[in-house]
């Protein structure tokens, strides 16, 4: 009786020891792993610092002065007493935003670029995404071709596309619109085809059962269930494209970005800040409107 109690005592002690040693091993293994990851990350970081020549850059002694003078030129010399005076008075808001009508015109062009690019690119994405969805297109070769096309359209940097289009279509808004069309097609095409792969196929089968052709199957079987989701992605892309369109102007593809570029090349940094404020404001307002629309769209489905 006593013996058996002692033996269970020792066996449970042995078990505890076994568990503890295993635990220690696990901990040691995970610590080693963490350590290896830290070494790898440090090597990557050190390599990055070395390659990007951050350490070797010729930061001369006067860099604080340089940045101070830059910030000084960035901030406009506003005077409180003349804040609301006319354009000719130095230190007024009107003299800071001295070219506002032209900037608004350029901003309108940017919005138009984003709008046209989003609509056309989205339509192309919608048309092609049926071909990229595995449940709607059984032809694997065609499906993969379309998908790789989407990938390529998303991966090529938009600015590079804009430069190439500018070489063909000359500098201006047309090059920007074409760039936005291509990148929008790539990103929305991927999202749309993923949506379609999650779609309920019963409706499609039902329409096929009553004799509807392929087009009718897609129109009445697929589109109605996905429309809120698709439109919400589309609107989100519109928001993104607005800032893309603003940026593309910097390489000469039309719109407000060209004004930014001009301000920099004339080293009018306070003008740059004024235009930047305008852009941020416009993007903010359009984001708010689009967010409301998207929430309404999602709300309609529930």
């Amino acid at each position: 009786m006593k013996d058996s109690a002692a033996s269970t005592g020792t066996s449970s002690l042995n078990r505890v020891a076994a568990i503890e040693s295993e635990w220690r091993q696990t901990i040691r293994k995970s610590r080693l792993q963490t350590f290896a990851w830290m070494i790898l990350v440090s090597i990557i970081l050190l390599g990055s610092v070395e390659l990007s020549a951050v350490g070797k850059s010729s930061v001369d002694a006067g860099w604080i002065d340089r940045i101070a003078s830059f910030v000084d030129r960035l901030i406009p010399d506003l005077r409180a007493d003349a804040l609301f005076a006319g354009r000719q008075v130095d230190g007024s808001l009107a003299s800071w935003f001295y070219d506002l009508p032209r900037w608004l015109e350029a901003m309108r062009e940017t919005v138009a670029m984003a709008f046209v690019g989003t609509v056309v690119g989205g339509l192309m994405a919608l048309g092609l995404s049926f071909q990229a969805a595995a449940n709607l297109n059984r032809n694997a070769f065609l499906r993969h071709t379309v998908r790789r096309g989407f990938d390529a359209a998303r991966t090529i940097p938009d600015v590079i596309l804009a430069l190439i289009f500018a070489a063909a279509f000359s500098l201006g808004a047309v090059a920007g619109v074409l760039t936005i069309i291509i990148t929008t097609m790539g990103s929305l095409g991927k999202l749309f085809s993923e949506c379609m792969e999650n779609a309920e196929m019963n409706q499609v089968d039902a329409i096929e059962g009553v004799g509807g052709n392929r087009l009718l199957q897609l129109r009445f079987g697929i589109l109605p269930q996905l429309l809120p989701q698709i439109l919400s992605y589309w609107l989100l892309r519109m928001e993104i494209n607005l800032s893309v369109a603003a940026a593309l102007g910097i390489v000469g593809a039309g719109g407000i970005g060209m004004e930014l570029e001009r301000a920099i090349s004339f080293t009018e940094f306070d003008t740059y800040l004024a235009i930047l404020i305008l852009i941020v404001f416009c993007i903010f307002v359009i984001d708010l409107v689009s967010e409301q629309l998207r929430h309404r769209l999602i709300g309609l489905t529930q």
Partner: protein
Amino acid sequence: MSAEAALIARAEAILPGAVIIRLERRIKTALAVAAFLIVFVACCYDLGLSWDVLGGGLVKMGTILGAMWPPTSGGELPRLLLALVQTLAIAVLGTLLAALVAIPLGLAAARNIVPNPAIHFAIRRFMDLFRGIPVLVWALILVAAVGLGPIPGILAIAFSDIPRLGKLFAEALENVDARQQDSLRATGSSTSGVFRFGVVPQLLPVWLSQCLYYLEQNFRAAAVVGVVGAGGIGFELEERIRIFAFDEVAFITLMYIIVVGIVDFGSERLRAHLT
């Protein structure tokens, strides 16, 4: 026929508008479509998009695409590879800098860390305001301020990602399950212990995977900022487009697409492993 009409009438009674679309709704839809089309056509007209312009440009585009074949490195493969790695380095350092600054911002913007609603509301709106500024706009001003080279590229990527990462970090913090902290507190842990064992283990994988995702995106951004003079592959590409060396442009672009694919694949695997 009458049976069909009865069926339709029954369906209408159950769900009005399900079978018969009313005339006023049709008119409304038609008006909306017409308004949309008018705006669209006006925008096209405003931008100078016409068939002549598109046709003429497409002919030139064909010549350019023809000039892209065959892609060639122009005998500068080592230099291009170095530029590509430099682009990756810019992306890594930019992401790191952004993450380091975004951590305190994220902490301050999280509802469960800073209980004062005024502070996190103000920080969130502040970050929202800056989120709209594209990376190229940052790069342009930073090149003017700091000078040519990779440093303005790194700073531009960091500046444009700080508000985005800050928001994501704050959201991840708010999604941390509070029950682990409760049990730690119940067993008598100190505040720092609660944070270390109740918050960090849940948070770290999410934050790391968000950083990795932004690293993928920043590899693209780093190529873009190169175009305005911030070093790397974008600079090489811009140079070659300006002199119409499209065969080299095609080579660099293909090389870049392949490397982006590799980086995306590796990062996706790591992220799947993390979460």
